[in-house]
């Protein structure tokens, strides 16, 4: 119960996000527009997965055995996010309940994996994956805006433009958020020398 209040807060927030997502009408409204589908629903589901990871220490411990330095979790999350940026994947999620279930499943697992892996990943590895994601989402965002036709059967061109601009903003926001979240460790790494990044005390505590 050491962190009862932030944990409880996160749980309440996650539940507040998860409950509406379970209501078909709310989900339908979010998924009716390409931009809100990708830039509201996706982050919500990833966030729910990340919060859930806080309540599943056993699952995190089991995952740790196949996730040295967090590489498995970061890789999984990167591939999941890349997959759901493919236009036909968005159409498939709308056309088939099974694909939509797969979307919710993989995105929440990506949130779980990111939360779990971030407690053990060295900054260099994180920089690689965060940078890669930023590069990818910015490129996809520009492609969405450049496309002369509708890329998704289910989405109008104006939603596609907004989704494209949103992805470019997201790519910048992710890098900034990562720098802010890791500013201590990045400074520590510099202060202690690059040869002992693993010795950061915060990391040891997180791993237990």
């Amino acid at each position: 119960m050491r962190h009862a209040s932030p944990q409880a807060m996160a749980a309440v927030l996650a539940a507040a996000a998860a409950v509406p997502l379970a209501i078909p009408a709310v989900r339908g409204a979010l998924e009716a527009d390409m931009a809100s589908h990708m830039l509201l629903e996706f982050p919500l589901v990833v966030g729910i997965g990340a919060v859930a990871a806080g309540f599943a220490p056993r699952a995190r411990a089991a995952f740790a055995r196949i996730d040295r330095m967090g590489i498995t979790g970061w890789l999984f999350a990167s591939l999941v996010l890349a997959y759901w940026m493919i236009p036909s994947a968005l159409d498939a999620a709308l056309a088939s309940p099974a694909m939509n279930a797969a979307k919710f499943g993989t995105l929440s697992l990506a949130g779980f994996a990111l939360r779990a892996s971030a407690s053990r990943s060295p900054p260099a590895l994180e920089a690689f994956f965060v940078g890669n994601f930023a590069w990818m989402s910015a490129t996809v965002g520009l492609l969405y805006q450049e496309a002369e036709t509708q890329l998704c059967l289910n989405y109008l061109a104006d939603g596609q433009q907004r989704a494209g601009r949103g992805l470019v903003v997201l790519s910048i926001a992710c890098v900034v958020a990562w720098l802010v979240a890791r500013r201590r460790r990045l400074e520590l790494g510099r202060g202690r020398g690059a040869d002992r990044p693993d010795a950061a005390p915060a990391k040891r505590i997180n791993m237990l």
């Binding site: 040295r68 590489i71 498995t72 999984f76 997959y83 036909s88 994947a89 509708q150 059967l153 109008l156």
Partner: protein, 211 residues
């Protein structure tokens, strides 16, 4: 400390997991994009139809002249259909298409056995009268160019689902859909999908089938 935390141990399991995730990711993306050939559903549909023609079920329709029990086999001389989807209220873009189809209709004289069908997905509005107005506006000759609407909502749903056409409201009272020229051979096999700009390729392909 778990075994994974001690230096030099646990990387084997991680490497296996990484390899499995890469393989699964590759397989999933390859399956979705038909081997990295199509990134949109429309591109995938056009490729898939070439490789696996789609059996559309019988299509009961209403036309300005009356009704047909099945469009695809209406007229024994018809060997191939060039099918497009329309709604008669459609403004500018469809007007341009309609006049392009007028020219195509003339070209059909050189391709016996090929007919055009413009099928409305707007059953609520496109009554036989509305379909007739549309046909007259573009001078559609029913022996060459059939303007029709599915006779039931179920027939429309099956047709759209079978051919992979998705119709969505455009937000200003009309519709947007993945417009294309569909080549259908009796008794209802969708064999090829061409872009709207490929009308003459579509005609040449259909004429080849009709010979």
């Amino acid at each position: 400390m778990t075994p994974a935390d001690s230096p030099g141990r646990g990387f084997g399991a991680t490497l296996v997991a990484v390899a499995a995730i890469l393989a699964a990711g590759f397989a999933a993306a390859s399956q979705l994009t038909l081997g990295f050939r199509a990134w949109t559903t429309e591109d995938a549909r056009r490729i898939a139809v070439v490789e696996r023609p789609v059996d559309l079920s019988a299509l009961p329709v209403v036309t300005p002249e009356g009704s047909e029990r099945d469009l695809w086999s209406s007229g024994p001389a018809t060997k191939a259909w060039l099918v497009t989807f329309i709604y008669t209220r459609c403004p500018t873009i469809c007007l341009a298409l309609g006049s392009e189809f007028q020219q195509l209709q003339v070209a059909l004289d050189a391709a016996p056995g090929v007919r055009m069908a413009s099928i409305s997905f707007d059953r609520a509005h496109d009554t036989p009268v509305a379909l007739g107005d549309y046909a007259r506006r573009f001078g559609a000759d029913p022996r060459r160019w059939v303007v029709a609407a599915p006779a039931s909502d179920e027939a429309l749903r099956r047709l759209l689902a079978g051919s992979g056409v998705v119709v969505i409201p455009d937000g200003i009272g009309g519709y947007v859909h993945n417009a294309a020229i569909h080549v259908v051979v009796p008794p209802g096999k969708l064999v090829r999908v061409f872009g709207m700009e490929q009308a003459h390729e579509a005609l040449a392909f259909a004429a080849g089938l009709a010979q």
